[in-house]
Assembly symmetry: C2
């Protein structure tokens, strides 16, 4: 079975607030949008931000909760890029969870939550290769 | 800012149960494992399954809940591949959320939750290109 994830879909309550965070905070451009979803073409897969009640309906699930027990990470080129991006994401409606500092496993990272409480780690990890397309290769 | 996600980290309670789901259910091979985490090299990024209390500690967050308001998707080559993979994931400790059927937006999909209640959509979507490396391009 291909080790492949095609989409990460985040349930959102307020699409305008979510778009502000991703489009102004991260500076990302959607590849498709309508009145209930935004899709972003990422590094080899797609990020979707979809009204949470639509996602619940599609997955035939009720009672999804916030914040969920997961995190996404975005890696930046240099250690000194971590905190400014966290600050920029907070200015775009995010909430700082952890200021940038050095974890025991190396590198540098902080955490910020998006307007729907989804956690983002903003990290510098010199052991991981990231190519010009954004494709990330695990390294130790 | 690069439209890039380097890691998806799922909080898990029981690493052995999680490994059974991902390694026997999906048939994926980890690139790194220790007593608290497994990493899988995916299509341009990394999937991590990490003990949830470690993730909470790293993100300086408490009170994360299950199931979270998000879903991951894995795309399969053919419509008839959807339900057998859901069945295989259920046999490896998952819980079926929705049997494979045709959504209004086209294609074919079902949903299964991993042992930690994280939702996976198993989908066939003929409009999206997936190359031999598993790199997925949004299509309509």
């Amino acid at each position: 079975m291909q080790q492949q994830i095609s989409v990460i879909t985040l349930g959102v309550r307020d699409l305008a607030a979510s778009r502000r965070f991703y489009q102004q905070g991260f500076g990302w451009t959607p590849v498709f949008e309508n009145e209930e979803i935004s899709f972003y073409q990422m590094n080899g897969f797609v990020l979707g931000t979809w009204l949470a009640d639509k996602l619940d309906e599609d997955s035939q699930r009720s009672g999804t909760k916030r914040p969920g027990a997961f995190a996404l990470a975005h890696n930046v080129p240099e250690e000194q890029d971590v905190q400014p991006l966290i600050d920029q994401l907070v200015a775009a409606g995010g909430t700082e969870l952890r200021k940038g500092d050095a974890p025991p496993h190396g590198g540098f990272r902080g955490y910020v939550a998006d307007p729907d409480e989804h956690a983002w780690e903003i990290a510098h990890n010199p052991a991981w290769t990231i190519d010009a397309r954004g494709l990330v290769t695990f390294g130790v």
